[in-house]
């Protein structure tokens, strides 16, 4: 299962942000996206995950092998940790949430309503969902926000394990996760040039 992105141009709110983005992500590897705020990391990840269409270019990926985790964790505050996780396990048709609970040290919090968790604990719960999906390509948008150093290490271990079992990960992150052989793609060089509007009439067409 590999991911191929070719000559992709994407827009956010009708403004082109990135153009000519090309990369491949073979199984067993991780690719970290870097770039200043507003460069279009989230937009790129959402496009690859199939949540929004690209202006041009091509994303070649089996939609059934992608698991997406955005800024929001999709946690229901009135459901307990276990209820939240088992719902996603059922949706993705996988079984056994115990490994996910253990990987993110949530066992002690199993029966707590998710609304009472701290921000970092919520984030861990959101990331634990990824383990349950059983999908091979993880698309992660700033996964380490509000995690402490131990939790980041926990998360890095899970990602490393995922890569070893022939999965792959596409991340937007500023923190060095200490992943060996993770390649880095700096998006600054793909910044879209403003459209040439010298022709006055063109602005109205």
């Amino acid at each position: 299962m590999s991911l191929l992105v070719e000559d992709l141009t994407i827009a956010r709110g009708g403004v082109r942000v990135l153009e000519g983005v090309s990369f491949t992500l073979p199984a067993g590897e991780a690719l970290v996206l870097r770039g200043p705020n507003g460069i279009g990391k989230t937009t790129l990840l959402r496009t690859v995950a199939g949540l929004q269409p690209a202006l041009s270019g091509r994303v070649e990926v089996d939609a059934d092998s992608v698991a997406y985790a955005g800024h929001a964790d999709g946690i229901k505050p009135t459901l307990s940790v276990v209820e939240n996780l088992s719902f996603w396990a059922k949706v993705f048709g996988t079984e056994g949430i115990a490994p996910a609970l253990e990987a993110f040290d949530l066992v002690a919090l199993s029966d707590r309503p998710a609304g009472l968790l701290s921000a970092g604990q919520k984030r861990r719960l959101g990331l634990a969902r990824l383990v349950l999906t059983g999908r091979s390509i993880w698309i992660l948008d700033e996964p380490t926000v509000s995690l402490d150093r131990d939790a980041v290490a926990m998360f890095a271990k899970v990602v490393a394990g995922h890569l070893r079992s022939d999965g792959s990960a596409l991340l937007a992150s500023h923190i060095d996760l200490g992943l060996n052989d993770a390649s880095v793609l700096d998006l600054s060089s793909y910044k879209a040039k403003p459209l040439n509007l010298n022709d006055f009439d063109e602005a109205f067409l």
Binding site: L51, P53, Y68, G70, A72, G74, K76, V91, F92
Partner: protein, 218 residues
């Protein structure tokens, strides 16, 4: 799909889920009307089917903006869109969950409130029948409206304005069934129209809702 339905029902039952909101609103409307209109029993039984239907419709409207708003806010909707569930299934389950938590309790409460409205004895069966047939259409149309306005802050007002005209045919034929039943007239035609509207909306609108939702998630 079953998991999503169970989750939605569970969320509705827990604190802050909004279960019972529509029911209590229905109760308030129907209890207040006799006070406002006066204790004239002939007048009350004449307007009873219409008032009960309007009450049910408004109660349905009240809980619509919760259908997708909460899932959109906490990101669940993005995650559901990238899950193996087709979007059409997600909106259908949402509509079903809305009907089970709002429409069905209204149907069950209507006969009790019919007493307050001095509804003639032969009017009860047609009233329940028309509500059972009609409220699913209200939920499905409402889900479509909720899909249109998802992502808008305070979209409730726009949602009501969008959905209200779409509710009119259901209201006309639903109330007509109940009215004709109450005065002992033949009610086949409006009953068939009501059933047709419900079947049509259930068959077609989930596709429209799913398409609209995909656009709104961009």
């Amino acid at each position: 799909m079953k998991a999503l339905l169970i989750r939605d029902l569970r969320l509705a039952m827990r604190a802050g889920g909004g279960f019972g909101l529509g029911l209590v609103f229905f109760l308030i409307v129907v209890i207040l009307v006799p006070f406002g209109v006066g204790p004239e029993s002939t007048l009350l039984s004449a307007i009873a089917p219409g008032i009960l239907w309007i009450g049910a419709l408004l109660a349905c409207l009240l809980s619509l903006d919760r259908v997708f708003a909460l899932d959109w806010e906490d990101g669940s909707l993005d995650l559901l869109a990238t899950s193996p569930l087709p979007m059409e299934a997600v909106v259908s389950v949402k509509a079903l969950a809305h009907w089970l938590t709002t429409g069905l309790p209204l149907v069950l409460a209507a006969p009790v409130l019919g007493v307050l409205m001095n509804l003639p004895q032969e009017g009860y069966k047609p009233l329940i029948l028309s509500l059972i047939l009609g409220t699913p259409a209200l939920s499905v149309i409402g889900t479509f409206g909720a899909a249109l306005t998802v992502g808008l802050k305070r979209g409730g007002l726009l949602l009501s304005l969008l959905v209200l005209p779409l509710y009119v045919p259901t209201l006309i034929f639903g109330a007509e069934v109940a009215r004709r039943g109450a005065v002992g007239l033949d009610m086949t035609t409006p009953l068939l129209m009501l059933a047709g509207i419900t079947c049509g909306t259930i068959a077609l609108l989930p596709f429209a809702s799913a398409a609209v939702l995909k656009v709104n998630l961009r």
